[in-house]
Amino acid sequence: MALKGIDIFKLTPKTNCKDCSQPTCMAFAMKVAQGVAQIEQCPHMSPDALDALSEATAPPMKAFKIGVAGGEYALGGETVLFRHDKTFVSKPLYAVCATPDAADTAIAEACKVDYERIGERMCVELIYLEYAGDKAAFAEAAKKAADSGKTLVLATDDADAAKEALSAVADAKPVLNGANPSNLDAFAALAKEYGVPLGVTADSLDALHDAVQALEKAEVKDIVIDVGAASVKSAFENAVQIRRSALKSEDRSFGYPSLVNVAKLAPGDERMQSALASLFTLKYGSIIVMEGMGYAQALPLYGLRQNIYTDPQKPMTVEVGNYPINGADENSICALTVDFALTYFIISGEVERSGVPTNLLIPDAGGYSVLTAWAAGKLSAGSIAKFIKEESIEDKIKNRNLLIPGKVAVLKGELEENLPGWNIVVAPNEAISLVKFLKEFQAAA
């Protein structure tokens, strides 16, 4: 939080001793406020003053990690409500529900989806294990789930059951979700004893706020707020109000990650769970619990999450290289576009639709769209020829037809000079015309 220099000055010793290498305490305070100097540079600050300062300068939303190496994930730490303001920090994590008697099935379900998309591993991160009345079975299933490599959320409001499970898997740093206004003391003690983040819920936002404050008072540091499953409407309101209070109204007691159980909001309805998971991926869910996760659900959902959690200032790029499409080989034509992910996806999609085997060549074009890259000098006859050489395209591909984007038709002549032996073909201006163009080109060849 932006603290004014004058507020910081009030906390300094006001002795102008220069030990911090600033001429006066006031000058030092101003530097700290600007973020140029660190408060620790003053050796004479009282512990009380330091506490007051760290509280005032704490981020609006707490950030912490769950799980252990291999399955360690960050939660919280968001600073903005909209991604165009600043990159969102911690991706929502998707969890699959499990009960102790069907733990194996659930673990298998959670491991079903596992693939890579633009350099990111896409899989179910968490298993949400629900207590069903048998403490030993709960603890045993927890052990099994933790051994599967997935990070664990233990869901129970029974303190004894929680204790038994925690004593088995506390090392895996699971989340314990189950605190509510009636069991706060016991759960706060458990969370502290085992050093795990604690999930808390309550019937209303007011009660939830009180409960979080009680946990804070009991010195529970890492809290997850379960938005409840009374209705879709209330879960959504809670998720929004909590995040907005934290970031806009600077209410620290709501400055924690959230948990949304869409499995409970739409039991048995896979498609509705996907809809809700998408909703909460945009609007402020930190852990999203589903009954299962198949590829049909995962492909759009993980793609959406990857999109939303990108840096708004920096375009997403694909790696430089040759992308053979429709089973293209060394005898298939080459088509070239830029490394801007959006352009790549549109073009590769149209090429796929055409069914024409094509080597899609992606040079380094600075992550810009075709015209912008050309205007910025990132896509020129020289850079394309350099790419062809560096990637040894001429050794790998025998076909000498190279399609270039219609928008840079102007490069044709120069490319013919730079790439002797190649037939430079100007493709259409718009991707929409590509299917027809490629089919006709193939037919004519």
């Binding site: 991604r83 936002l205 409407k233 999109n307 708004p312 549109i346 929409i432």
Partner: protein, 316 residues
């Protein structure tokens, strides 16, 4: 310190646009809060979910979709069937056969098809949204003819672009009283510019919606989401009346054209049946567009329509 609720109600609001005639009329827009934030202030008109069909008929290789349209062969029958889709607030005809890159049927023939669909939609109690070819020359010629043919049905025609808005705005809105969409390519400044140009033609705000672009989840959707959010922020916080038209986002064409919805189960056995993948792609994309602030989305599959519309109802 207790929790203090701080509702965020804006002084400005999104304009309203009515589509459809008589009992089929539906209003979109009008909100003065973020979408679905009905806890801040009541939202009078819920975001609308539409179901689209091509004049060339549904993709009958998809079993569930084929079953829904079973026995419906003519455009009128297909439109009538679409009107019965649970959760659909409006229906939408895609004039696929008018595409110059495809069958390229004459504009007169396409207009006759539009008329058939408009009559069936009104009879079925649903407004009609017509999606044209996206080819600026063809649409410039086609849209005025559609507008004339569908007179009296108060249809929404998508879309006018910067290259062809003049003729379209005058013919569709001024001459025949239809509603038009102003299409721009995922950029708040381009959207604003086109709206200003259309307003300069004397088109009242209540006759125009914005189509801010298309994207499927995973395919640059962040640009679309942020564009919608920034447009709504400007409209609501800065009272920018050049950006206060309701936003409509067609989902179907993009959602069914990405790899995830296209490749066969034989090639990707672990991905499962293609139809379910397409439905899910529509659902995630549409919900995200609505969460970002869209006032209407257009989907292709009745199962996706049912789910998205069902979620909207639960949030209202």
């Amino acid at each position: 310190m207790g929790y203090k609720k701080e509702p965020q109600v804006f002084k400005a609001k999104i304009g309203e646009v009515v589509i459809g005639a008589g009992d089929a009329a539906v209003t979109i827009g009008g909100e003065n809060v973020w979408s679905f934030y009905s806890f801040d202030a009541p939202i009078e008109h819920k975001p609308a979910t539409g179901i689209e069909f091509s004049d060339k008929g549904p993709d009958r290789s998809l079993p569930e979709l084929a079953a829904f349209y079973e026995g419906a062969e003519s455009v009128a029958d297909i439109a009538a069937r679409a009107c019965t889709a649970p959760g659909a607030d409006f229906v939408s005809l895609i004039l696929e056969s008018a595409d110059p890159n495809g069958d390229n049927i004459p504009s007169e023939d396409a207009a006759a098809i539009a008329k058939e669909a408009a009559e069936a939609a009104t009879a079925g109690g649903k407004p009609l949204v017509i999606q044209t070819t996206g080819n600026t020359d063809k649409d410039g010629e086609l849209i005025p003819k559609i507008a004339e043919a569908a007179q009296g049905h108060n249809v929404l025609i998508l879309a006018a672009k910067e290259e062809n808005y003049k003729g379209i705005a005058v013919a569709a809105v001024t001459a025949y009283g239809q509603k038009i969409g102003a299409e721009s390519a995922v950029d708040i400044n381009l959207a604003k510019q086109l709206n200003v140009l259309i307003a300069q033609m004397g088109i009242a705000p209540g006759s125009c919606v914005m189509q801010l672009g298309n994207a499927a989840a995973g395919y640059g959707f962040e640009y679309l989401a942020s564009t919608i959010e920034r447009v709504k922020l400007a409209a609501l916080t800065q009272n920018d009346d050049t950006l206060q038209m309701p936003v409509i986002i067609p989902i179907g064409s993009d959602a069914w054209a990405v790899k995830e919805s296209l490749v066969s189960e034989e090639d990707f056995p672990e991905w499962g049946p293609r139809e379910e993948r397409g439905i899910e792609m529509e659902i995630s994309t549409a919900v995200a567009a609505l969460a970002a602030g869209a006032n209407a989305v257009i989907l292709r599959h009745p199962a996706a329509v049912k789910t998205v519309s069902g979620m909207v109802d639960q949030l209202m």
